[in-house]
């Protein structure tokens, strides 16, 4: 039985299909909760959650296999805006957003929320400056736009280069995350978990390309948002904070600010523990001074501009039927992303209040140490080294600076503070897996598509037949995936560091060539090449320089506090200057290109690439 993945009846049925799917997932969750009551073990529940969800993704991936170019690269340009919004949200929210965001806010307070502002506001840039115009262009990949707008094989090659550098940095972090979750849920070593995670990722994308990735990403979004929100609602309801905590946690923030001086938040630990942190940053109070404010806004800027330059996000907007749909689907993407990001600070706040507030039964700070050590969740997380409770001043009472934790466990452990059943942890593991897998899929596909379409078909062998092109695309997917897993298993950088670098690479190399391609008719090939290479090289050099202050790179101190998470600021300035100067020193693009830019600017009519055939 073949299934239609395009056409009116399929599109009309989408709400029903995914409605049934969501119902099925909730029923599975309920079943697990009941079975837990009847004594099903925690390990088995974890395995069942991972196996059930990956099984569904694989099923969708296999059903939507295709041998058509349009379906493989842009899902047949038939994805309705709301569904494309969900797919983009899953594509976007990585394992880091899901697992690390709330924990980061828990431990680092206001400064960490730059990520929340940056990872949402970037979509304003996407909608106003890019997505509709790229959709009108009718390209298959981001380098396809650069290559056609500016002309020249070398220009296209530069775009491929930036794309691969940024996406590869990002994908290793995602494969690391799938490996970590798979290892913990399936009780296998991390090195094996990485390859297991990769297999799950590839089964979603190998056979059906963009079409398969789109429909699995929608499914993954549903799993991840359900898995993020259910524990928050449940926990908050059980603890009496109200059933819609996102709009009610103001007083909880106030209460934390009141407790902080009483509990002595801000005193460092007597003996720091490797890999674990104590809470020393105030919850809602920003650091004083212009430098702190500068660091906040520069991090916001890097995340926003990076958002608008990351090819795996931009290419999602190539899949909508019209230009207007592309624009609408950016707004839906932001809405679906917002649902998770505005919940993360609420989760961090409740999580902290439960531990701190002596009037709550869950409080541990200020309690006798034996009593805390006897708690179930303390024992469990201590056993795997992600938490430590040590009475360092020997007074028999747990102080705030004697409670050590790895912030990444906040999302998983918070339901346990409230004494929720293990089934919640299984759900959260499935959500984290969905978040990491969907992002990895988008990234791998962006790279494999750029290499197969732009490098192989457009540069190396323009006469290649369809079958050969699609075969190449799949082989590349496999090779890049394997390379990513190999690098991931070496554990070179932390997840968050790698993610921030990917944003900085993308903005250094791609932002201005993309934006000016639409908004500045005068921009020409030489300028674009200078912008891409100048930005990438300067950004890369600056990253190496601030990471290795003692080496020969020529900088002893970061400029203006721009550390390695913010090197994109330096790269993008270099890119803009190089692009503008070189463009103005060289001749304007020909009339043909200028007319192409005019056409890109209006929604109606044929796509640019379509009218060139």
């Amino acid at each position: 039985m073949g299934m239609q993945f395009e056409g009116k009846s399929f599109i009309d049925n989408l709400p029903k299909i995914y409605g049934v799917y969501t119902g099925g997932f909730l029923a599975f969750f309920a079943l697990m909760a009941v079975l837990e009551r009847f004594g099903l073990g925690a390990d088995t529940i974890g395995i069942l959650f991972i196996a059930f969800t990956i099984g569904i993704y694989a099923f969708i991936g296999i059903l939507s296999r295709t041998m058509a170019v349009e379906a493989y690269y842009v899902a047949g340009r038939s994805v309705p805006p709301v569904f494309n919004g969900m797919a983009t949200a899953a594509d976007w929210m990585s394992g880091a957003s899901f697992v690390a965001m709330a924990g980061g806010i828990f431990i680092a307070g206001h400064g960490y929320m730059a990520f929340i502002v940056g990872w949402t506001g970037g979509y304003i840039l996407v909608a106003t400056l890019m997505a509709p115009y790229l959709r009108k262009f009718g390209c298959y990949t981001v380098p396809d736009f650069i290559g056609t707008r500016y002309g020249g094989k070398f220009t296209r090659f530069c775009a491929i280069l930036v794309l691969v550098v940024a996406s590869f940095t990002y994908v290793t972090a995602q494969i690391t995350a799938t490996g970590t979750i798979a290892a913990r849920a399936l009780l296998i070593p991390f090195e094996v978990g990485v390859w297991f995670g990769l297999a799950g990722i590839l089964v979603c994308s190998m056979l059906g390309g963009m079409r398969a990735v789109t429909w699995t990403q929608v499914a993954q979004y549903i799993v991840l948002i359900v898995a993020y929100l259910i524990p928050i609602f449940w926990m908050s309801g059980v603890q009496g904070f109200g059933w819609f905590p996102q709009f009610q946690y103001g007083p909880a923030v106030e209460r934390i600010m009141e407790l902080e001086p009483l509990l002595g938040v801000g005193t460092a630990a007597l003996e720091p523990q490797r890999g674990l942190s104590v809470l020393t940053t105030l919850h809602a109070t920003p650091r004083e001074g212009a430098m702190a404010a500068w660091q906040f806004v520069t991090l916001v800027a890097c995340m926003m501009i990076g958002t608008a330059s990351l090819p795996h996000i931009l290419m999602r907007y190539f899949t909508t039927p019209t230009v207007r749909d592309a624009r609408n689907s950016v707004a839906w993407s932001l809405f679906f992303i917002f649902l998770l990001y505005f919940s993360a600070p609420a989760l961090a706040t409740f999580s902290k209040l439960q531990l701190l507030d002596p009037t709550l039964p869950t409080a541990i700070i200020g309690q006798p140490i034996e009593q805390v050590l006897a708690l179930d969740w303390v024992t469990r997380w201590s056993a795997i080294g992600l938490l430590a409770v040590i009475d360092q001043n020997g007074d028999g009472i747990l102080q705030i600076n004697e409670f050590f934790l790895n912030p990444d466990i906040i999302v998983l452990a918070t339901p346990e503070f409230a004494g929720l059943p293990y089934v919640i942890s299984g759900l959260v593991a499935a959500g984290g897996m969905a978040a990491a897998m969907s992002t990895a899929d988008g990234l791998l596909l962006a790279m494999a598509n750029a290499l197969s379409h732009d490098l192989y078909y457009k540069i190396i062998d323009p006469k290649a037949e369809t079958k050969k092109r699609l075969l190449t695309a799949r082989v590349l997917l496999l090779v890049i995936g394997a390379a990513g897993a190999l690098v991931a298993s070496l554990k070179l950088t932390g997840i968050l560091g790698a993610v921030a670098w990917a944003f900085c690479f993308a903005m250094s190399g791609l932002f201005f060539p993309l934006v000016l391609g639409v908004w500045w008719k005068r921009a020409n090939r030489q300028g674009a090449v200078a912008g891409m290479l100048g930005g990438l090289i300067v950004g890369w050099w600056y990253l190496l320089a601030v990471r290795n202050p003692d080496a020969w790179y020529g900088i002893a101190q970061p400029w203006l506090g721009l550390n390695d998470l913010r090197f994109g600021i330096v790269g993008i300035v270099a890119s803009l200057v190089a692009m503008v100067v070189v463009t103005l020193l060289t001749p304007a693009p020909d009339a043909e290109i200028q007319r192409m830019v005019d056409e890109v600017r209006i929604p109606s009519g044929q796509t640019i690439i379509g009218s060139m055939k």
Binding site: H110, M113, A114, I116, V117, G118, T120, G121, Y123, I124, L125, A127, T128, L129, P132, Q246, Y249, G250, P251, A252, V253, E254, M257, A284, T285, P286, E288, A293, F296, V297, V300, A301, M304, T322, V323, R324, R327, N328, V330, A331, L334, F335, F338, Y341, F342, P345, A346, W519, D598, E599, R601, I602, P603, S604, G605, Q606
Partner: protein, 89 residues
């Protein structure tokens, strides 16, 4: 291709650009300016939240979401006025 006179083409782009600038100005205020003043804003209480914290945790995000849906309507209105919306030809 849509039938569009040269002046209309210029005018359509002028209005599109103006809309972009308006929205990016709002975006700039809620992305950067507000957070630059997070410390003084925190002295104001907003339904229990310190305002500086609230803007980073929720306020800016809500502005972005609402703004984007509005932008779409406005851009579509411009396109329709010049007869270059996609369902018009």
């Amino acid at each position: 291709m849509a039938q569009l006179s040269a002046e209309n083409r210029v005018e359509h782009w002028r209005q599109t650009r103006r809309l972009m600038i308006i929205h990016l100005t709002i975006w700039f205020i809620f992305s950067y300016v507000v957070h630059w003043f997070a410390v003084p804003l925190n002295n104001i209480s907003f339904f229990g939240w310190p305002l500086g914290y609230y803007m980073a945790a929720q306020g800016s995000l809500i502005v972005f979401v609402v703004q984007l849906f509005m932008f779409n309507r406005q851009q579509h209105a411009i396109d329709t006025r010049f007869g270059v919306a996609e369902d018009q030809n």
